[in-house]
Amino acid sequence: MQPAVTSVSQIQWDRYGFTINGQRVTIRSGAMHYFRLPGEALWRQRLQQLKAAGYNTVDLYFNWDYHSSAPGQYDFSGYKNVDALLAIVAELGLYLIARPGPYINAETARGGLPAWLFQQPDVQLRNRLSEVDHYSPAYMQHVEAWMDQILPRIACCPTLIMVQIENEYGTESLDPQYFNELTAMVRRHGITVPTMHNDFYAFGLYADEVDIYAIDNYCVTSFDHNWREQADVFAVVDGMESSIRPEFCQHRPLMVAELQAGWFAQWDGPSYATIDQSLDRHHIGLITRSVLGQGCTVFNHYKAIGGTNWGHIGSSDVCTSYDFCSPISEMGLPTNRLLEAKQINQMLASFDLNQTERIDWSVSQHPAANESTAYALRQHVETGSRWLFARNLRPNAQLIPLPSGVMATIKPYEMVCLPTALPLMSGLTLIESSLEPLGAHTHALVFGFDRVGILSLSGVTGYQVESLPKSVTVTCENNVLTLSLLTAAPESSVTSMSLTTVTGDTIWLHGLGVHNVDRYWRLSDDAALIGPDGMEAMPNEQWVAYQQYDATRDNPTNWARINAAGECVALPALSPSFPPLLEQQLSQWEYQPVGMPSISAMSPLTSPSATFAELDMPHGLIWVSQSLAQPVKSIAIEAYHGITVLLNGHQIAKQTHLVVPPETLADKVPVLTIDVNQTAEQFAALPDKMNHLTILVESFGDHKGFYQDERLPSGIVSLSVNGHNALVGARWSAGMQADTGITDIASWVLGQEADNLAESALLWHASTTVELAVPDSVQTSYGLVFDHGQFERIYMVLNGVLVGRYWSASQAQRLFYLPEGILNHQGLNEINLVLVPGELVPESPESVAVLLGTIRLVPVAQYERCLFSRETLL
């Protein structure tokens, strides 16, 4: 069994994996984006959930852009307090895989490169130009300044085990200089742990420049077809041992730096509900056990914890939610994927699958068995124990023979790891089992009795069971105990028997019904809880257990604990101590029109175009105005992402391009052409006055750079009126720009066109307050739900922080998470909305109310929380 995590004083590696402080450890990692979880309390809670689910490592990207808004300026305070984050990681005893970039992708704006970097002279981003290496001293100078900030912080984390160099990097000629210099920076800061690079292609890119070569693998990224019907869906991981091992990993472990545990929703893509349906627990179970079957001992579920694109963190393609269908959801809820991952993690924490080699395995002599189900047979190089990896990618159950000839049943789209000849505690040996073990403790073994099957143990001199269910038969002859499950055990059952072993010890064998299989939480070598719907592992051997409030549940769920002696002891039933929190319809809104800013208050445009980058505005809204002393006949605007055009205060056209089709890339920026004579003749010519052209430009963020599109502009690239450049002499003004939401909402609301040309408001502002009183014993997450509204876009600002962007044309998101910390669960909250009309432009507060539809504040899930300490459990 693996030791509890302490500070890392020594780390070594070989082809079988990592040895940390002298102990072999399977790295069971999950990725979290701290910058998508605003607040220390959220980091702590999510990491405690991660640990409770059996992960022993967290993978963290460090987002340069998030910390640096200007050259030489770095912010590590508040939500950006990386020192506090890493202190939590160490306090919880999680190992750390640090990924400081400089480029991280992660569907962040510019892949985490700061906006100001793009304006610096002589900078060649990521030392590449088009597809060719192009060393840029200026770029490296800025990178080093970032590394000088972040690496000392990472170096202080006592549980650091690996540092990633760059991210999914590739060029045509693979010049190693960039990697070598980044590595030198890591070493210069006293970091001695191994370096690693994640190769998106699994082709060995930069394998020689890092200590640990790793691949990324996302086998399902399209959701309009069923991955279950694609025979080679896991082809890349299935080839790890045959192709990657001999070429790149003969003397170092197989590692998957990003092992698919979900996928992200895009504005134009399927919703998280669709992704969730596709990437169910079968997927994470299959892909994770497949890499284990390849002999991989270092994996990182990407991502394990969901997050939110609050502020302007996300790249232009992603909606507000970055739930990712992660095992732990954006709202901190345990999903079925977490329960599946937990099952694997707990097995790996209990048994040593590190030092194994693949040996021949054929089932062709068994007519009932399907050869394709026999995925891999691995043998431990020291103990000789074997693990059968059986995988069923068919829609019906398949049979696989155990060494004795007994057939094990593998359910559709299921993979299992079945041990044979496995030495256990107190002289016991697991001869074979058609049941995947759930976990082992000092004095207990735990299996799922959720299916028909057998297991046999040698070294047993006797056994005792209070009452044996009809579904189970047991024989014990010649010190071999054979247990047969004739039918699956009842859902919430626990079948316990005490075994007397050849060493005279007592070992308990516990079999769990299907409901309890998911609700077995291995807390330590000598403690477990059975029954909670979710858990957190806190420091100092304390745990928080959750029971979901379920009004339809007639009886309280029975919980039990496994104590230090290995016994399973019933716990008092936990009854909800609170009435259910109810959703609230938010109806008391105040509405105000948002006028255009006065032209005289705007600044002269000094740049050749009005892109957000040139205006030093990384994101948000800007106004651009031009006064024209001639009749306006035609207008052509080249712009991303959203533009609304007003002539003499009247909306004459609008266009939205939130999605950049991959085939267009940086080649083309969409052009909106307006024939004013056709569309708005009455406003086109005011012969005695100036004509005023005003454009509201919305940026939905910069591109992420994966397709080398990080420089794709947002804003107005060109503006021509009557065929002539109309940006010369134009004026501009910032609208909503800061991460904290609306910079100057008061001036927005009250601002009016000085020349009295605005006859109707372009935008509306709605505000309300809501008071919450969530009991301390309740764990819940609130979301805002938009129903039947007719505004095209809505910006949501909660207590001064931009927490959501709604776009009616996208099916991606209707429910918006209000992160705890920003949302005050015990007090007053202020919600501001900026409403961008669609076809219907409201003219009065009453019509705004109609167009806004229904907005509900919903407690998405509610849990009763219960604290356990080691003393209360043992």
Partner: protein, 125 residues
């Protein structure tokens, strides 16, 4: 656009496969990247000559996909490690060194453009 380093091209393009067939010019590539679903074949450039999808056929195993019919709703699947043959219908190949550029769209990774050089020495007599 996804960068395909040259080291990968050696694994994707089947070197020496450029040939003249009765149907036209043909060459092979192997999907060494992972499960691959092609949703568009934009064009093939042979030296300075551009061939549009109407002139191109993609053969994967026994299945032929006219390139102009490949789409998101009618994708061409090239399984991992499977060889696909591109045929430029009715085109003739001169002897010598040629630069081939393939421009396609993959469901998994988006737009992929890669260029390789291969020589054609004429039909073996």
């Amino acid at each position: 656009m996804v960068i395909i380093p040259k080291i990968l091209l050696k694994k994707i393009y089947v070197s020496g496969s450029l040939r003249q067939t009765a149907e036209g010019i043909a060459f092979d590539f192997i999907n060494a990247v992972g499960p691959g679903i092609l949703t568009k074949l934009n064009k093939i450039m042979l030296n300075d000559t551009e061939f549009t999808p109407e002139k191109i056929v993609l053969k994967v195993g026994d299945i032929s996909f006219p390139a102009d019919q490949i789409s998101e709703t009618n994708p061409a699947t090239v399984a991992h490690n499977q060889i696909a043959t591109c045929i430029i219908r009715g085109a003739s190949l001169a002897e010598g060194l040629h630069k081939i550029t393939l421009d396609l769209l993959s469901r998994e990774v988006g737009k992929i453009v890669f260029s390789v050089e291969d020589s054609y020495q004429g039909d073996p007599a």
